[in-house]
């Protein structure tokens, strides 16, 4: 393999003048597509954050017009929470973590010039963009946006007379389905690229962990989303063609959707978790100057998690009217999944042992992921145990739990990744001081908000309730709700620091060298930012990605592409 290094690598990409359209809009370059995914995802993230602001304000000050929105009606409230969830998972976590970092990193880390199917890659982004546009349109159609929760349980989602959003629910479903298809196409591309296009000399165990994680996530997505696509087609037909797949009055079964949804929905958590775990692995090894503890164990654990994640879905349905005996099985499988995840956390903590740790901004983000995700992980045990789930199901305890997982995954994972790879993406360094202000301004409010919500959840407060002051027993938590809202507004405010830092550094930041962090993986051997085709001569890999602090070497890192 190693003797087939193509010496003509750049020859396939003749330089020619390209128009604005073909450079930025219809580009097939994986880096440009990654940027498209990222900026679309971030734009959707702003919408999702705005929605969170509006409904948190409504909860803290019910009946008061929200500045920047107006009076929130119950229908709007439902649409806001529904689309906040949908957007944050399908239009932020997926495109940013999986598609943006996947597209950017896979060819660069594998030492190839592009994805194997650049045009399919572009098509997948375009489908994704289309799905985002359809979703945004769905907020403005008569009747308003869909308000049946991101889980879209029928019959509420299936019948217009129940949801009162005839067009909104259909458009929502169409948007989600398109998004799935976009990520199926993208995932096939990722997996094929990693299987077939690694740099000469790069063996299975030389692949950087983040690439492995993205591949496993793509396969996991592919294997789990199929039934839900079938389910979505059935739901679309129920909505518009008068079928009765989910209508109990005419021989259907509403629980069927729940099974199809959560058969996908639970693995989906790992689909977004794995890329972030990978990003964190890259960052902590670089800034601790340490080899990743037990690379193969991590890999097998991830495979194990992926397989196990298919067996736990019904823990979302303990009280949904399934056979009570099934709860025992799913309690066991759910608690079993705590073992691989605990193992991963142990590995990450163990990696810090014996390191030489520098607390740069990316490292702070990566470490805060571990610290907060631990809380998210352990609180899941309460919900996986059927006995306590009877009480905790659909309370704010659940909400706080999964925000303690999804926030580290999506938001912290993104910030860790972007602060780490920013020099490679844009050729300039981010401002460290602003980065740290933004870090503390995000991480402190986040913890205050959701620790508060754990408490109100234990107090019996349920999710998706428009106005808690209408419930005499819940009205007494109003101060805590105001507290959470105030800190949310503060946290959103601190994002301005990031946006300023991002765009200012992009234009005027300090120029970055090719390898500012002294990292090993192949992308740091390319120019910053990498040109079309990435390298003038495609690299060869000689060793694994985590050879830091190798004894006997003068430097404490040993890039994969350096012979010897």
């Amino acid at each position: 393999m190693a003797d087939t290094v193509p010496a003509f690598a750049h020859g396939a990409h003749p330089h020619h003048e390209v128009s604005f359209w073909s450079k930025y809009v219809f580009s097939t370059d994986h880096k440009m597509i990654a940027m498209q995914y990222m900026f679309t995802g971030l734009f959707m993230g702003l919408i999702g954050g705005y929605f969170a602001y509006v409904f948190r304000m409504q909860l803290a000050f019910p009946g008061v017009a929200v500045p920047g929105f107006g009076l929130v009606s119950p229908a709007e409230y439902n649409a806001l929470v529904t689309n906040h969830g949908t957007i944050m998972i399908f239009w932020v976590a997926m495109p940013v973590l999986l598609a943006a970092f996947g597209n950017f990193l896979i060819p660069l880390m594998l030492g190839c010039d592009d994805m194997v199917f650049p045009r399919i890659n572009r098509l997948s982004y375009q489908l994704f963009l289309l799905s985002a546009i359809i979703l945004v349109i769905s907020f403005f159609v008569p009747g308003g946006g869909f308000g049946g929760a991101w889980t879209a349980y029928p019959p509420l989602s299936a019948k217009a007379e129940y949801s009162l959003t005839p067009l909104g629910s259909t458009l929502w479903l169409v948007a989600v389905t398109f998004e799935f298809i976009a990520f199926l196409l993208g995932g096939i591309n990722f997996v094929t690229t990693v299987m077939n296009s690694r740099a000469p000399g790069m063996k299975m165990y030389d692949i950087p962990m983040v690439v492995w994680m993205i591949v496993v996530a793509s396969i996991l997505f592919m294997a789990s989303v199929g039934p839900l696509i079938a389910g979505a087609i059935m739901l679309l037909m129920d909505q518009n063609l008068g079928t009765a797949f989910y209508d109990p009055d005419r021989g259907g079964d509403p629980i069927l959707w729940q099974h199809l949804f959560w058969f996908f929905g639970h693995p989906e958590v790992y689909v977004v978790l794995l890329p972030t775990l990978g990003i964190v692995a890259e960052i902590i090894t670089v800034f601790a100057r340490k080899k990743l503890f037990a690379y193969k164990t991590v890999l097998y654990t991830v495979f194990g998690t992926a397989v196990l994640s298919f067996t736990v879905w019904a823990h979302h349905q303990f009280v949904a009217g399934i056979d009570p005996r099934m709860a025992h099985i799913f309690t066991i499988t759910t608690l079993l999944i705590s073992i691989p995840i605990a193992e991963l956390m142990f590995v990450y903590i163990a990696t810090l042992y014996g390191g030489s740790i520098t607390l740069t901004t990316p490292m702070l983000w990566a470490l805060s992921f571990i610290a907060t995700f631990l809380i998210g992980g352990v609180t899941g045990i309460f919900l996986g145990a059927s006995g306590t789930d009877i009480y905790l199901h659909d309370t704010y305890f659940v909400l706080a739990h999964f925000h303690y997982t999804f926030f580290p995954i999506t938001i912290i994972g993104f910030f860790a990744g972007i602060t780490y790879w920013f020099p490679k993406m844009f050729g300039r360094m981010l401002d460290e001081r602003l980065g740290k202000i933004h870090f503390w301004g995000t991480i402190i409010p986040f913890n205050i908000i959701f620790l508060t919500l754990f408490v109100v959840g234990l107090g019996g407060q349920h999710r998706r309730i428009y106005d808690y002051t209408q419930f005499p027993d819940l009205a007494r938590f109003q101060d805590l709700r105001v507290l959470a809202t105030v800190w949310l507004v503060l946290m959103l405010g601190f994002q301005v620091v990031f946006i300023y830092n991002f765009f200012r550094s992009m234009a005027r930041g300090e120029k970055a060298s090719n390898n500012p962090w002294k990292a090993n993986t192949l992308e740091w051997s390319a120019a910053s930012p990498p040109p079309h085709g990435n390298w003038s001569e495609l690299p060869t890999a000689y060793r694994g990605p985590y050879e830091y602090s190798v004894p006997g070497r003068e430097e404490d890192y040993w890039p994969q592409n350096v012979p010897g």
């Binding site: 003749p14 592009d114 994805m115 790069m202 199929g226 039934p227 079938a230 063609l241 079928t243 069927l256």
Partner: protein, 192 residues
């Protein structure tokens, strides 16, 4: 803008051409879509004995004929692949046209069959069995239509002796669509 195929497409670390590898992944992702639909159908079917009586109204002989048509068309796809391997693009194109013919015949028979059923009063809304019947066979028919379009495209390039590896790829897809029908036929027509 002229499209230059990247070097990464030409690599094959896994020991399989990139195109074939990707088609296998496409098939894998399609398998779970149909798998979800059929699993839902089977679960319902087991829970509703009454469906047996409704399934009795499907025409097994039409279904059997369509099975035969599809299997035959798959055979010509195999022969087309063989011709493409030998570098005979013109012959491969002809054989692919035979496959297209099979696909179109299948669709015509399907249209005829649905017409009979709808005029007999069995529509999409009649019952959940018929909803499943039309959804499953409709989704399958959509795959046949897509397959026929791609087959036509591949045949037109193969005739010029270009991109002959695609003959194998579309063949793989066609066999997959065929296999799906092998599952649908007993589930919807024979089990009564």
């Amino acid at each position: 803008m002229a499209f230059a195929r990247p070097i990464s497409t030409t690599r094959s670390t896994a020991g399989m051409p990139t195109g074939r590898l990707a088609v296998w992944w496409v098939i894998a992702s399609e398998v779970v879509i149909f798998g979800g639909l059929l699993a839902s159908y089977i679960m319902h079917r087991l829970a509703h004995d009454a469906w047996t009586a409704q399934a009795a109204h499907t025409n097994m002989w039409i279904g059997a004929f369509n099975t035969l048509v599809l299997l035959t068309s798959s055979l010509s796809a195999v022969l087309a692949h063989k011709a493409a391997e030998e570098g005979d693009g013109a012959r491969a194109a002809k054989l692919l046209c035979a496959t297209i013919g099979g696909g179109l015949l299948f669709l015509c028979v399907k249209a005829f069959e649905w017409t009979i059923e709808i005029t007999a009063g069995f529509t999409l809304q009649s019952s959940t069995f018929w909803s499943f019947y039309y959804t499953a066979s409709g989704l399958h028919a959509a795959h046949i239509i897509a397959g026929v379009i791609i087959l036509a495209f591949v045949a037109s390039t193969a005739r010029k002796n270009l991109e002959l590896h695609r003959v194998e790829l579309i063949g793989l897809y066609w066999h997959f669509v065929d296999v799906i029908w092998i599952f649908l036929f007993p589930l919807l027509y024979i089990a009564k």
